[in-house]
Point group: C2
Chain length 125, copies 2
């Protein structure tokens, strides 16, 4: 009855492993990591990343996004759907056009911040 959770019985015990126990506990939160991984997966594509970047700064209709990206509207629409399903962007219909923009959430704010940080962009507006 000595060790209730022998969570750190690793093949090798070297050095002072510090807070290995806590780390191993966090590593068990697989669903939470999956949430983060899913977000990264959405922006691991050059096309979607740039679309997201555009929509962080402007609200645009599909045709204009397609023109900026030099892509077909079906391709753009496909990517918009993925981004929207993950709540990274939102949409609004006005007449014939559907306007998209980045949604306002901690995730999008953090992502936007990271992208501009790494790319050394001074966010206009």
């Amino acid at each position: 009855m000595g060790k209730e959770i022998d969570s750190h019985s690793l093949p090798h015990q070297h050095h002072e492993d510090g807070c290995l126990e806590e780390i191993q506990h966090e590593i068990g939160r697989i669903e939470d990591f999956q949430t983060v991984a899913d977000t990264f997966k959405l922006l691991d594509d050059n096309t979607r990343l740039r679309i997201f970047f555009i929509l962080c700064h402007a609200e645009e209709c599909v045709i204009n996004i397609a023109a900026m990206m030099d892509m077909s509207t079906p391709a753009v629409s496909h990517h918009l759907k993925l981004l929207k399903n993950a709540n990274l962007i939102s949409s609004r219909r006005e007449g014939k056009e559907v306007y998209y923009k980045a949604s306002d959430s901690p995730v999008t704010r953090n992502l936007h911040h990271y992208i501009e940080n790494i790319m050394d962009i001074v966010c206009p507006k």
Copy 2:
């Protein structure tokens, strides 16, 4: 001589598009966005994301990482190679073992920060 760069001649002109010109200019930095996308791609996988997380907090050998992840060493080794090629982690041989840890760079610091922000983790140590 009026418009030197008619970079914002889009199919539709609606609303006040604000800083569309600047956005379109940034969108042209495709290689820079690719760099960001490549980093996201490295962490879009649950396995690699958790390995990276471990190595943000501890320096560990392959066998221990494999044990924590409940994976085979070849699979882990494969992911470590990808992370190392992108300079997200570094390695050091000591005897039979090779120890890996997260490298110290703005990219890794920002990523680590983002992950813990989103996961609402109280970073151990």
